[in-house]
Subunit: 196 residues, 2 copies
């Protein structure tokens, strides 16, 4: 199963996938390339470290989406790798219909809350501020509703009374680092079905 | 800590509290009475079985709230027991400001989902239909927003692929039966603070 990763940030989740592949823990998944809208993102260093093409692509003038021209370029460049799976690992832009249609039913996203609670930005902070005692993370299929696609898997994290935001963030990230590579592995061996 | 229980249904959650008290597992909590808006509710049988006053009170003509006259009666009858804590254990009516003010910061409710996901009716079915992989239950302080008060504690339940709705309901109820008496116990010994 050909996989490409898209990310904007430090790439700690992308790294867990790359490491899982290196360790033989990613089933039949094969990471073909890593794409970022941020030339200096840590995810680019991880890609290089694991010997993968690290592709920076401009996203255009908008902050939270790709502009039309960039979108066409992204689709074309990603299609080159013939991915069966596109993994959003900290990719901070909302993807629009042309992109979603190009990779229909092949895009998954990792979100740092137990959806449908706390969609959108800052899921961990939202949960912390609400005062929940259980939060976690979600891997879901991506559709046109932000963080609204079908849930693939989730992991729960207990909030302890003495957790500050930083402690909670660390716990949720730890859960993410277990959940995401495991979902990729299970998709690659057919243990989790793709949508029809 | 004087406690009264309010319920409309089978009373399985009320029973776990009554049993915990009998077994010496309810800290400094003392159940003074059980109130129901349903004369034939199972919760009434449980109250009698454990030697507690089982008080049926008419709720008036509405289906989802108390009418004004009934509300006055409920407040008066409950106040007779001088409760430090009012526990809603499957009580199916929305409580309005006069009631909430009478027992301000002393009312807790059990809800069968990980709030803020799936508030309102049929929390377990809502979660099942959404397709979450983690759900659970919540005990929260009651305010004027239905299922919107501050979270006290939550318990997570894993949804397995082969769980049907009935299996999931059984698991969530099991989690409820652990969570609710434990919250009452911890409140009674000051391990969980009351709101100021």
């Amino acid at each position: 199963m050909n996989v490409v990763l898209l990310g904007s940030g430090t790439g700690s989740n992308a790294e867990t996938i790359l490491r899982a592949e290196k360790n033989g823990d990613l089933g039949d998944a094969s990471i073909k390339a890593v794409f970022s809208d941020n030339e200096n993102a840590g995810i680019m260093d991880h890609a290089s470290h694991y010997g993968k093409p690290a592709r920076f692509l401009s996203a255009g003038p908008f902050k939270t989406k790709l502009d039309g021209e960039s979108e066409t370029a992204w689709i074309k460049e990603i299609e080159f790798y013939e991915p069966q799976l596109v993994v959003l690992a900290g990719f901070m832009r909302v993807l629009k219909p042309p992109f979603l249609q190009a990779f229909q039913k092949r895009i998954i996203n990792l979100h740092p809350s137990l959806l449908p609670s706390f969609p959108g930005l800052n899921g961990i902070r939202q949960a912390f501020d609400y005062g929940v005692k259980v939060t976690g993370c979600t891997v879901h299929w991506v559709n046109e509703i932000v963080d609204g696609g079908a849930v693939i898997d989730q992991a729960a994290v207990r909030v302890q009374n003495d957790d500050n935001l930083q402690a909670l963030e660390a716990k949720v990230h730890e859960a993410e680092h277990r959940l995401l590579p495991e979902v990729v592995r299970r998709l690659s061996i057919g243990e989790i079905p793709f949508p029809r």
